[in-house]
């Protein structure tokens, strides 16, 4: 690009650097309109949407656990997981409705079914899931209609896995660079996180049961998929390392790792099961909040929109053999 553009704000991609951090690549230069963002920052609110993401994951994985516990006659595990599935789903729905600009029209979410809209698909997963999980939990707590409870529980278990990952598509299917660029890995990050939170809960109830395997596998998947996601992100990976999102995600990793270790220790030390449940759920909740905040930060800075698009254009020109601009 030609120079001499002093009053057209030519921004330097500066950021606050951590202690002792050295600059490995030269800072990209790009033009913007007075440093204003190119895309609009999402209007989604905290804690509504991070809570909706976390609780949806916990509820979905818990419903699968409850369904399997029912099939294998593990009553305590079934009871806790059914309640977690229903509670998570209902609060998750509440958070989503509360976040709407026009909450009284929440039923419009079910007005059409649109595969191109992850929120439409998600609503059609969330609505029947919440209903089924609630019936199962009500039957569990009241002791009435166990047959219906079992049927509803099975329905929730079938929908459960989808509950844990559609929210990743929901975030990725936007123009927000920090979310869109994660669209391959984020479903696995959310899946691992959901397994870890539901598994942690299961370990607390039954330290020697199947919860351990679920918690450990989930914790490891959450950590590994997050690591892969961060390594795949180019420039916008900064938003996952810097600022509030950066420290929240670092804390999330530490807490999830500790929770995973606690789940392993629970076989010999039952108290570790409770610690595992608390740590893994704190890790899962803070992961969702960190990912949410990283996306918001990437929307606010035009650098993350302009620079990668410029690079894409330059690459396309190189491929087509055209001279660089």
């Amino acid at each position: 690009m030609s120079g001499g553009r002093a009053t057209t704000p030519v921004a330097r991609t500066g950021r606050r650097r951590g202690r002792g951090e050295t600059l490995m690549v030269p800072e990209a230069e790009f033009s913007s309109y007075y440093g204003r963002p190119v895309i609009k920052e999402p209007v989604w609110k905290v804690p509504d949407i991070p809570a909706y993401l976390y609780l949806g994951g916990l509820a979905g994985a818990s419903a699968v656990v409850a369904g399997m516990a029912d099939a294998t006659d593990r009553e305590a595990l079934r009871r806790t997981s059914r309640v977690a599935a229903a509670g998570g789903a209902l609060v998750s729905v509440g958070a989503l409705v509360h976040d709407l600009g026009r909450p009284t029209r929440f039923l419009n979410m079910l007005r059409v079914f649109k595969p191109t809209s992850p929120l439409s698909v998600g609503s059609w997963i969330l609505a029947p899931f919440s209903g089924a999980a609630t019936v199962a939990a009500a039957s569990e707590l009241s002791g009435r209609l166990p047959g219906l409870g079992r049927l509803a529980g099975a329905g929730a278990a079938v929908l459960g896995p989808a509950m844990t990952t559609y929210t990743a598509v929901l975030l990725a299917d936007t123009a927000v660079p920090g979310w869109h660029e994660t669209h391959r890995e984020l479903p696995f990050v959310f899946a691992g996180s959901a397994l870890a939170s539901a598994g942690g809960l299961a370990v607390a109830v039954d330290p020697t049961g199947p919860g351990r395997g679920i918690a450990v596998a989930g914790g490891l998947l959450e950590l590994a998929a997050s690591e892969r996601m961060r390594s795949q992100l180019g420039l916008v990976g900064e938003t996952y390392r810097d600022g509030r999102a950066g420290w929240v995600l670092r804390a999330s990793r530490a807490v999830t790792a500790a929770g995973t270790a606690a789940a392993l220790a629970a076989r010999r030390l039952p108290a570790a099961g409770i610690a595992s449940a608390l740590l893994l759920n704190a890790g899962a909740a803070s992961l969702r909040y960190g990912v949410f905040e990283a996306g918001m930060a990437s929307a606010r800075d035009p650098k993350y929109t302009v620079v990668p698009q410029r690079e894409r254009l330059a690459q396309a020109r190189q491929v087509s053999g055209a001279p660089p601009l």
Binding site: S117, G209, G213
Partner: protein, 288 residues
């Protein structure tokens, strides 16, 4: 569907009068825009632009860019050897006026061929009209806000206090009556041109050739190409510099282009969840 219509905004003849902004606000009865910091009269410090950007209640936005660069040729839009009318300009009275050039451009919703806002809307409030434009049905919108981060141009926004999402309708009500949209009607220099999209494409290509011949080598069309990431825009532009200088994305792509990959990965991840739980129960065995 009737013929697809659109806007061609030729920024080389924009004089920054903001008649389009005013006409739009007036015709569409749009309130002041607190989203842009306009609860009161405020100055942004961005040249003569105190509008800031497009928003829920700002459907036309005139950008002002001051560049310390001599124009490459005669002033855009005027034939070579035009008469200097001695109009006030920038710089010292006896100074060199060519030091600064002003870029002005009236931004608007692009009415994309592949519109992300329309794709992601869960209620069906956003629809494509018989004119090939994209509008919000206000009585259906529940304010979920999904369209807002989906738009690669940052056009649509939520109106505070109302909760719904709003954007340019290309004056759908006027179009129905065979009228020109308010902004194009009000534009005194025909910087904003309205008509059948194909016709506008031809006109734009002619205008571009004219400018490049006159030495405006930086002149380029933006949003006219049906093979771009959004399938071409219903509202396209003739710009005199890089798109990002005007606050436009250099290579916008409709986010839903990657949706099949996203659903596939989400399905694989969901299957992983089911697999992990089944395996854990299988290895723990049937007890109690």
């Amino acid at each position: 569907m009737t013929e697809r219509v659109g806007f061609f905004t030729d920024t080389s003849v924009c004089i920054g009068c903001k008649a389009c902004e005013v006409a739009c606000k007036t015709w569409n009865a749009l309130p002041a825009d607190p989203a842009q910091g306009h609860t009161d009269f405020e100055l942004t410090g961005m040249s003569y632009d105190n509008t800031g950007g497009l928003g829920a209640s700002t459907w036309r936005h005139v950008a002002f860019i001051e560049q310390p660069r001599p124009p490459a040729g005669p002033p855009a839009g005027s034939p070579a050897g035009s008469v200097d009318l001695g109009m006030p300009g920038l710089g010292t009275p006896d100074g060199d006026r060519s030091e600064i050039r002003w870029l002005m451009s009236s931004d608007v919703c692009k009415h994309c061929t592949h519109a992300a806002c329309l794709d992601v809307c869960p209620t069906g409030a956003l629809v494509r009209t018989e004119f090939g434009t994209v509008i919000v049905q206000d009585d259906v919108c529940n304010g979920c806000g999904y369209c807002i981060p989906a738009c690669p141009y940052g056009v649509i926004d939520q109106r505070p206090g109302d909760g719904g999402a709003f954007k340019c309708t290309m004056c759908y009500d006027r179009q129905g009556a065979g009228l020109t949209p308010a902004c194009a009607q009000a534009c005194p220099t025909e910087s904003i041109q309205y008509g059948p999209l194909e016709e506008l494409h031809e006109r734009a290509a002619g205008r571009l050739a004219e400018l490049q011949e006159a030495g405006q080598t930086q002149a380029r069309l933006y949003g006219h190409d049906p093979s771009d990431g959004v399938g071409g825009d219903g509202a396209f532009f003739l710009l005199l510099d890089e798109p990002e200088v005007y606050g436009l994305p250099p290579d916008p792509v409709v986010t839903t282009r990657d949706l099949p990959v996203m659903w596939r990965n989400a399905a694989a991840a969901a299957a992983t969840v089911a697999g992990v739980v089944l395996a854990a129960f299988a290895s723990a065995g049937r007890r109690r």
